[in-house]
Amino acid sequence: MKQQMRLITTKLAMVLAACVLMISLSFNYALSAGDQVLRMANKYGDAKSLDAHRATGSQDRLIVDLVFNGLVCYQPGNLSVDAIIPDLATEIPSSKVLDDGRQQWVFKLRQGVMTHPYDGNPGYELTSEDVVYSLQRAADPKRSSFAVDYSGMTFEATDKYTVQVTLDQPISAFLFLPKFANRGGGLIVAKKALEDKGDDWFKTHPVGTGPFVFKEYIPGEKVVLTRFDKYYKGTPKLDGVEWYYMPSDSSRELALQKGELQVIEGPKEQAWAEKVASYPGVVVDSPNSAETIIAHFNMTVKPLDQLKVRQAIAYAISRKEFVAVYGPKVSSPIYGVAPVGRMIAGLSREEAAKENLVFEQDLAKSKSLLAEAGYPNGFSLEVFTSESATYRRAYELLQAQLRKIGIDIKLSVVDHSTFHARIRQNLDPIVFYAAMRPNPDVILTQFYLSDSIVVTGKKAITNFSHIGEVDADGDGQIDSLDDLIVRARLEQDSTKQVALWKEAQLELLRKMVSYPVIAIGYIFARSPKVDWGYEMITITDGPNPTEKTRLLP
């Protein structure tokens, strides 16, 4: 009996193994599909919202940027404002100042632009009615996360293909155009789709005018887009695009190696880039981006209310070590909150050095400042970090660096959403923030305007330091950048505007409100068969295929 049992089991095992081997062998041939579908994977777990006006996270922007257009757009692969070209509009508008001091811009729309077909509608022509509806929606804080960008503006459809935008306060073209470009609130949505189906449906069924039509969203797995034949710029060369959500770096890597995916996002690590670049048939791109990592000091938390303490911390931080960990190809040090070389008015090292505001690592100086402030033995702080690698690395580096001067950081890891909730509740003494913003005005407004102070600000956004409400340098007077920020925003002369922005950054350094550490770029690896159809210089959230992108045979 024992023998019989043994025989049966062995036979079963052999059959099982044979089946599996056959299956896998047959499958490997079936898998090399010859279709023109671009399959990409990012590192996120899932989409949050595919609604153009709610898509703030990178994982969502990657999708909506393919489904919608703006009145104007950035040239593919180039985020420079100087390179903005017309999109749904026929030309870049110029502004006119009205008698009552308000400013007016007039957009003329292209004719014959079709929206995507959706459930119950084969698609219709986009007109100024849709554009005005879309812009008003973008400006509504109840329906859009970008409302702040459009305060003080009114929109009107003066005829079927003309839209008029009126601003209470004039701003320069440099600040105006990005708000109407193909990002964020500037994305134009199909009015009829929203009216027919409602906001809730729109969260998972975006309907726009872009090169790719939304087909399917499988939560936690992927979004499937197909070609929009009636795209006004021409029929896209790709049959479709699929964006996969794959949080595991190794899974993404393996899938690329096996040809299951053609483009993958990589961890922002040079070591990874070098390793992957050595694989046969893999190309690594590392375009620039204006994403910065900045440490904000909450000046309402003792002892960070003292200037000397913050300066001590600044002297303990080593930008070189950050660059070493993130990778020299991927990151570079920055000396002002606007990243030098990646954004207009970026503060350079020389400019900061003129007033001795570079704060290169100097542990001796750091320790003596700390002692002068009354903390010769350091102190301890409780800080939270997000589990996301970009943040975790920054905090862990900070922890190790501050340890050397006696400051003990007790670090707790929370998931990304909890982290973002916490820092907005004014619960953290030091906040690292990794973000990309289109221009210095947005950076200064969101992070350093007194209205933006977390919890208590009138329009609380992300002013973690409380500048504008506290005495930063101990001279008995409240310090604020509000004046400088608003003056720069309204300045029409671009040279003077740039000078004002640089002055604001220097002021932030003088008062050590926040420490600008590094700017990081993107790393993604792809199959050499991917021909983007344009040159990638700077990108925002990830690589975007356009109607010109195709897969080489």
Binding site: S250, V325, Y395, L397, Q399
Partner: protein
């Protein structure tokens, strides 16, 4: 004393248990002498020498911040054993209390407590652990509490049956007649009876607790950085698995060895406790 030396002899003859005990002892010594054995400070970063493979100056290589992996594995032993020991202890105390209270009191208390235990037990350990860890948050103490809570119901159930059985015994009723207090009855009669079984279970579950820590850390719910635990080392190592496998392999092997040791001891103890099973 004679019974004890007999047991000891049986233990010694059980090869599995002995090997397990030796391994566990080595692990314990490593944990206790971490300060002496570890060549580097486990928290000290050297970012310009990150991700170096094993070599003479760094026997197990360095991690993504340039920290010495060997030192981190050694210090990780401390954490793992601490989590293992205290969470099991907590579970034991909590659970036994619940089980004995339910078994001894009977009636409504019994029903309520044991229903709660049933409900908690009905869930896979890991999933309960994940939920509780998500609520309590991260950190060493919270992790111990989390795992302790997850284990408590099992100990409760283990203590319940024997409590019921002993309660019915004659000497208990006669003790009650004489007027002995409940506490005395419990400590004198009930606890010694279940002690053996609980101890065996406790040893086995040290291993499970260590695995639980690794799993929770792998999901990002464990101990906070920069403290090295085997679980969070595997987690960071996975991102660089193909290029720097030593980051995950060595802590993984450590978990295997430690858990194996405890399981071996547990097996041996079980063999002793139940003479029928003696091979």
């Amino acid at each position: 004393m004679n019974a004890h030396s007999k047991l000891w002899r049986t233990f010694k003859n059980n090869k599995t248990a002995v090997v397990g005990a030796v391994m566990a002892l080595i692990v314990l010594l490593t944990a206790v002498c971490a300060f002496v054995i570890a060549p580097y400070d486990p928290l000290e970063q050297d970012v310009f020498h990150r991700l170096t493979p094993p070599e003479r100056s760094h026997l197990l290589g360095t991690d993504e911040y340039g920290r010495d992996v060997l030192s981190r594995v050694i210090w990780g032993t401390q954490i793992s054993l601490t989590v293992g020991f205290f969470s099991v202890l907590l579970g034991m105390v909590l659970g036994t209390t619940m089980g004995v209270a339910a078994g001894y009191s009977g009636g409504l208390t019994d029903s309520i407590i044991m229903r709660v235990v049933d409900v908690l037990l009905s869930f896979p350990t890991l999933i309960t652990g994940i939920l509780i860890a998500a609520i309590l948050g991260s950190g060493l103490v919270k992790l111990i509490i989390t795992i302790g809570i997850v284990f408590a119901p099992r100990f409760a159930r283990m203590a319940y049956g024997p409590t019921l059985a002993v309660k019915e015994m004659e000497y208990v009723s006669s003790a009650k007649v004489i007027g002995a207090g409940s506490l005395r009855i419990i400590t004198r009669h009930i606890l010694p009876n279940i002690f053996g079984e609980i101890m065996v279970a406790g040893t086995l579950w040290m291993g499970t607790a260590i695995m639980a820590e690794a799993s929770l850390s792998f999901l990002g719910l464990g101990v906070s950085p920069p403290t090295p635990t085997w679980g969070n080392m595997i987690k960071s190592g996975i991102d660089v698995l193909a290029s720097a496998p030593w980051l995950s392999l060595f802590p993984g092997a450590s978990i295997l060895i430690t858990v194996l040791a405890f399981n071996m001891i547990g097996d041996g103890l079980r063999d002793i406790a139940d003479p029928k099973l003696r091979a």
